[in-house]
């Protein structure tokens, strides 16, 4: 799963959001590192909808402009949980090994 996709699903895990809300949220989750652009966002949203991982929650018209709110589907929740577990397992392994290395280095000094 691409990082942008992972972050979009994460943004929606807290509840339904519209496009601009997802962009702001992804920026916040990533500590300002990932700034989604509209083209990238909608390529991903279109794909996620086609794969059944997200769905349209509701639509509103604000200032004459269409606002569509997206939410995770049960399949999307499962997919995000699986991916998060996988990333966590990798991160844990990496940190454990780094700690072993650091301890060894500390021991030798």
């Amino acid at each position: 799963m691409q990082e942008a996709t992972f972050l979009i699903l994460t943004a929606l895990a807290a509840g339904s959001q519209h496009g601009y809300g997802i962009i702001s949220d992804v920026s916040e989750i990533s500590g300002g590192r990932v700034k989604l652009l509209a083209g990238t966002l909608y390529t991903a949203l279109d794909r996620l909808r086609a794969d059944g991982l997200i769905g349209v929650d509701r639509e509103e018209i604000v200032d004459n402009r269409l606002r569509r709110y997206y939410r995770l589907t049960p399949a999307g929740e499962k997919r995000l949980a699986d991916e998060a577990a996988r990333l966590q397992a990798h991160a844990t392994a990496a940190l454990r090994r780094l700690k072993v290395n650091l301890n060894l280095a500390g021991g030798m000094a």
């Binding site: 496009g19 601009y20 652009l37 083209g39 990238t40 966002l41 909608y42 279109d46």
Partner: protein
């Protein structure tokens, strides 16, 4: 309304026009589903006073549009999508062939003159016909790719005729000694012909038949 506010309205109208032009690059179905919403996001992301789409956002939209256009359509079998990609490759191959013909024309003429001076006018006519015909063939490749992609059954038979045409042109070129006098042109032509053959096989596979024999073709 005072002046600065009027400016703001003009700025945003001009920005919106710019974004609409970029969104026009997306396929119609995608635009109908997401266009207004993307526009809303683009406008919300733009700082006040911006009058033209930013370079970053423009490149991102063009990339998105290209990705949408290069994706298989809903319900389209892999075989049909592979054939469509081969047809784009075929148009590129024909362009390469045209360039090869232009670049090697002198060498071909010299080779024919050396081997059989009487055959020079016929060879030159053949080269002229190939040069003049190439843009038409490129247009045919693209038009067929477009209609094949949209699931029009008639397009399959159009493409089969096109395949026969290319095959006949290959045979004619062989009969005139093209492989001997113009090896580069001949190889480029053979590559293009192999694309036609592969595409014909793909669009008449059983999996493809189902796509073309649907009740009503899903267009747009």
């Amino acid at each position: 309304m005072n002046e600065p506010e009027l400016h703001g309205v003009n700025d945003s109208a001009s920005l919106e026009r710019g974004y609409r032009r970029l969104l026009a690059c997306y396929p119609k179905a995608f635009r109908r589903e997401n266009g207004e919403e993307i526009l809303a996001v683009l406008m919300a992301c733009a700082p006040d006073g911006q009058t033209r789409p930013s370079l970053e956002a423009s490149i991102d939209l063009l990339k998105g549009a290209a990705r949408q256009r290069l994706r298989p359509r809903a319900g389209q079998p892999r075989s049909v999508f592979a054939a469509v990609r081969l047809m784009w490759a075929g148009a590129a191959a024909q362009l390469a062939l045209l360039i090869t013909i232009i670049v090697t024309a002198g060498a071909v003429k010299a080779a024919v003159l050396h081997a059989d001076p009487a055959a020079v006018p016929a060879a030159m006519t053949h080269i002229t016909v190939d040069k003049a015909g190439a843009p038409i063939v490129i247009a045919m490749w693209l038009a067929l790719a477009w209609t094949i992609n949209r699931g029009r059954d008639a397009a399959r038979f159009g493409f089969a005729s096109f395949f026969l045409l290319i095959t006949m042109s290959m045979i004619l070129s062989m009969a005139q000694g093209g492989a001997v006098y113009a090896p580069a042109d001949f190889i480029a032509g053979a590559v293009e012909w192999s694309f036609t053959l592969a595409a014909v096989v793909l669009i008449f596979l059983p999996a493809s038949n189902r796509y073309y024999r649907r009740e009503a073709p899903v267009l747009v």
